[in-house]
């Protein structure tokens, strides 16, 4: 298992969340395929994408869950928060409502993920400057107040897309280096070495249990 696509040191799990139609799937597609997908259908439940990147000389496989924005799939998508090491929270800079919902998304994320999960705020569709409805400063302030990383990106032009995914990975990798992230915890969203089916599932996880019990 040390050749080809398996030749990486870590798997990081990401989750992409945000309102319907903010361009979550397009961001993922831009990141994995380096192409803009026009007429992207609504995501049903979750979609999945992977890409191997390199951070500080380490090969890291990103396992990215792209969730449906529609409310009716919330139950399905909630399952995926738990295992995420990184959460990309997306809003549409041309639609204020998507920005206004961020706090509820953030609450969900904070509740369902572990404290070390890196949350990255992305203001998508920055190519549509003329239709801007949320200023950079406002969003930047919100990010700062909540301790989020922030960037405005465009899935259409590819601006900042790569950066958002890579910055998140760097931050996670930093947490590992600092020892803030427990690799043995299944819900850390990080696995050392390629997945071996069933093994992680059996590993004990205190962190999650506390969460479960707290609510």
């Amino acid at each position: 298992m040390s050749t080809g696509p398996y030749n990486y040191s870590y798997i990081f799990k990401y989750i992409i969340i945000g309102d319907m139609g903010v361009g979550k799937s397009c961001l993922l597609h831009q990141f994995t395929e380096k192409k803009f997908m026009a007429d992207c259908p609504h995501t049903i439940g979750v979609e999945f994408g992977t890409r191997i990147i390199e951070v500080s000389g380490q090969k890291i496989k990103l396992q990215i869950w792209d969730t449906a924005g529609q409310e009716r799939f919330r139950a399905v998508t909630r399952s995926y928060y738990r295992g995420a090491a990184g959460a990309l929270m997306v809003y549409d800079i041309t639609r204020r409502s998507t920005y206004n919902h961020l706090s509820s998304w953030l609450t969900d994320t904070r509740n369902l993920t572990n404290p070390s999960t890196v949350i990255f705020l992305i203001g998508n569709k920055c190519d549509l400057e003329g239709q801007r409805d949320v200023t950079y400063e406002e969003a930047s302030k919100f990010a700062e107040e909540n301790g989020l990383l922030f960037v405005e990106a465009s899935a259409k032009t590819g601006d900042n897309v790569e950066e958002a995914f890579l910055e998140t990975a760097k931050k996670i990798y930093q947490s590992i280096q600092d020892g803030r992230l427990d690799l043995n915890a299944a819900e850390s969203g990080v696995q050392h070495k390629p997945s071996q089916p069933g093994r992680n599932n059996l590993s004990n996880d205190q962190q999650a249990n506390k969460d479960n019990c707290a609510c």
């Binding site: 696509p5 799990k13 049903i44 439940g45 979750v46 999945f48 992977t50 396992q63 869950w65 449906a68 009716r72 799939f73 139950a75 399905v76 909630r78 399952s79 995926y80 738990r82 295992g83 299944a186 819900e187 997945s195 089916p197 069933g198 992680n200 599932n201 059996l202 004990n204 996880d205 205190q206 999650a208 249990n209 969460d211 479960n212 019990c213």
Partner: protein, 626 residues
Amino acid sequence: MVSEPEKEHVLSKRLNKILESQIENDDETIEALRELSTFYTENSLQARRNLRSQIEKRSLDINQSFLSAFKEVKDSFDFVYNDIAEMNKCIQDMTHRLHNAKSQTKQLLQKTSALQKEKEQNLMKQKVSSAIIKTFQLSREEIIALHADKNKSETPLTFDTFKALEHVQEIHNNCKILMQAGLQTLALDIMEQMTLHQEGALEVLYKWTQSHCRNVDNPELSDLIVHAMAKLQERPVFFKYVIDEYCICRRSFLVGEFINALTRGGPSGNPAPIEMKAHDAQIYVTDMLVWINKAVPIEKQNLHVLVKLCSFEGLDDMLNKALANICEDICQPLKIRIDKILNVPNSPSVLYAVLNMLRYYKKCILKVITGGQLAETLKELEEKSELKFLNSLTDQVNSLLVRVEAPPRDLSPTSSISNLLSILRDMLSTASMSEGREVDMVKIANTVLEPLLRAVNEQASRLPPTDMAVYLLNCMYSMYTCLTMYEFMEGRLERLQAQSDAQIDTLTSEQASSLVANLNLGPIYTILQDHSQGPLSGIPGMEPSNLKSFLSKLDHLSTHPDSILLPQINLLLSSKHKKSVQKRSFDVLLAIYKQLYEAVHNPVNQYEAPDSILSKTPEELNAMFS
């Protein structure tokens, strides 16, 4: 002085002599006497007197007769003389004439010898000329061989032509020697002549070859054509025209044969015409492709026979193009027929079989031909059939998923999901044996699984969280078991695994919450976390009796682990999932128990006889549950 005695002597002598003479011994006298006796018959005086005159008379008579006799002789002599004179004259004439002749002959001789000389020279010249002609000119036969008979439109070509052509070439080469020998004009003339011959002959050859090249597989002509082609390669233009002509012939022949095979079949309908089986797409396509796959190598072989003796740069390229050219016309009928099949709605498995046939035969045929329309057509058809196949598969999937069914009460995958998975399994097992299976299998899996996953999510989204997790796990487990049997599914499996993990997490948390609630552990856990309220034994809800009852419940649970499991957990199809959820939720309990155990045994919390309250160590409990 003669003395008297003497005189007397002479007389005496004479007398003596008379006396002594013996008349009887003298024949003349006897004869004379005998004669005398004949006429002197009487001895008389008269007679004596007349004797003399008689004798004289007699002598005259004799003389007379002498004369007449001699006269006669003389006449004879005269006659002879005349004759001789005549002869002499004749001879003289002859001599003269001979003389003349002699002088005349001399001239003639001179002339003759001159002519003789000339003749010898001429002979020599002739020898030289014929040698030159032999060396530097063509024989009549050769010329005929070269230029064919102008009276006949079709002359069979023979090997003489090639010999003649070689001769022409040889002569052409020999001219160089001639040039060196200083005979430039001659050499140039001959060279020109030979060039003309050569051009003429090559043209004849070209025309012949052009009209016969199609018969290269005819054993009688094959050799000739091959040689002709070898000759023609000296003239690239002719060579190319012949190849072009050949291509045109073979192309129409090939398409004719193909149409025959399609509509008429072999001689007396055996094998049957391919179109008889047009109702069975798979056999129909296979038969057509088999036919082409058989015909194309033969064409290639023939083409190579044609140029067996040729070799020049760019020949291979030319042959490749020629072969592609030959195969051009069969593209259209093939394309029309396969298009027809592809445009009729067919089951994905049939279309997949067609795709595989196209793929296989494309590979085979492309080993023989390089580029060209047939290759294009096959590629096009392959792409189209792949598209049609995937479309048909998508249609099938969509028609099965058109209605979102509610999951059954046992939360097992709905029948349409199971159906689709069995279709997927069938397709994958077929695909796993085909060429390029990796790409195919991934495509097939994507085509089926994408809508399937969407449908499953759609169904699940209408369920309460626990049911949702169980249903999703069951569906993903079915997919997982379906895919694990095949190669190249790692990406898919990884995704399903990750998705299952997420659902197991959800289920674990649901189960753990349910256990905590069932065992009334909620308040205990909250109190345990809060260290501000002094000794635990004093806090309501943490009384030893309460803890004891908790332990007894836990005991009961350990013996009947199923009793407080969420009912949905039992609906999990995978025992591994079930065990995992069970184990992990129990682990949560054990963790809390461990915390409680430590707290109870901690003197700070002022429990009396902690061992009697919690009689089991966490390790013992762990052993009981595992």
